[in-house]
Subunit: 292 residues, 2 copies
Amino acid sequence: MMLEKISSNYCFDGEQLRFRHDSEVLSCSMNFSIYLPKAAVRAIEEGLRTSFPTLYWLSGLTCTDENFVQKAGAQSIASELGLILIIPDTSPRGEEVPDDKAAAYDFGLGAGFYLNATEAPFNKHYQMYDYICHELPSIVEANFPINRDAQSIFGHSMGGHGALTIALKNAERFKSVSAFSPICATTNCPWGEKALSLYLGDNRKSWLEYDAAHLIRHSKNHIPMLIDQGSADDFLKDQLKPELLLAACQEAGYPVQYNLRPGYDHSFFFIASYIESHIRFHHEILTGSKIV
Amino acid sequence: MMLEKISSNYCFDGEQLRFRHDSEVLSCSMNFSIYLPKAAVRAIEEGLRTSFPTLYWLSGLTCTDENFVQKAGAQSIASELGLILIIPDTSPRGEEVPDDKAAAYDFGLGAGFYLNATEAPFNKHYQMYDYICHELPSIVEANFPINRDAQSIFGHSMGGHGALTIALKNAERFKSVSAFSPICATTNCPWGEKALSLYLGDNRKSWLEYDAAHLIRHSKNHIPMLIDQGSADDFLKDQLKPELLLAACQEAGYPVQYNLRPGYDHSFFFIASYIESHIRFHHEILTGSKIV
């Protein structure tokens, strides 16, 4: 698998990198970003075989891999703690990839919803679940010093939905999951209903495997889960609906740490304000260490 | 002076705000951003008359006020230390404002160079020196709890040039100055020569009051000065030329703390990596405190 380096920037004594590659699963060319902390850069330079705990970040509607890299301020704490960050794009890309008819922001390009589409014409390219769970990991694990036994996943909004559903379906693989302002129940909100009906068709039963609240209700393995939600988020009531996820957790006896943050909205200013606490949460679980 | 609020986001328990106003000095409508740390938000809410130390940030070529706000990660440490951040735009704006003939990035819109233009047609709008030194301060001081006796200034690239020249000409007002990758000698580099000739005309003597190295050579009051420069900066040799500033400092006996950072480039990834150290530098001087 050929990786073409698009850019490379020193950042907090580590390296912020961006690559392009051909995706077989998505049938298109894709970009992703990866942050290597100082310790990983040094290990690579010195030819050491050390591997590092790794976090996958899934972004929200309209984002590419670049928004998080530029706006979340995650590199500082990732470098301090020695964590690798992997940031995929949010959908297949390219002129040949079908988009929303009206080019709306909530479906198609920039809105892959981290699922495997079954409906034409979307099923040819929109296989983001397989891309995130299989193809991208195989690429980054072949090229970077990733500790396969110490991986977690987190994300924002649509990416919060992605992180939760992927972690719940792969609880043996991800040691912890967290989300900022996640879409908690795709089968019960306008964003989700639009996306699932177009990607998956009319059979609503098939939608349930991409609904975080539903998956929680049927989960067997419980991994640590952290959610932060701003109280001034414009999408809170109609789209995100954390009350449905919290009810499912209560029903299933699934432990969740849920923080409602007064005054915060849906923006990257919210993510930046709490990114350190999320990264520390994962780090503690991935390394078994408690750093205060 | 009417301020129109464009946006407001909670950020690190403070508020990131953006305003629009009519500028008399620039004869156009302008935007600026301001960050209020947690302590200032609380003081305003409680009706207290406390005022806060304040940093002006001047941005580089092509930037608006938004780049720094979104990418530098400055709010975290500003909130922790209780500092107000004021981030102006980099030039006058609007369809009536003359731009570079070829709409190049290094002159005109987004490239005001923090000077008062004397040449037509630029002299009508391009009065950024007066805007930064007089009009904007009068506006923010009338509307926010700014401690007039505790102000410093910093910036990046063209904004590093702006911060240095403005501080050197107003050493009684600014208690300290710092810069990332500044244009150190506008009269000796292509960016500067283009801008100064178009804004100020052919009389090169008139250019000298906007040349940091020249001003250092003729400065009387020495305020603390910190400069960070990446060694992998593509503009280092031809445009930034810190060696000219360092030579001037040596000649004038002007104390400067200069850090050459191996591997870092001209991007916001560099700024983000060292923004905390710059803000701590200013805070220590503005408050007379040493926080480790």
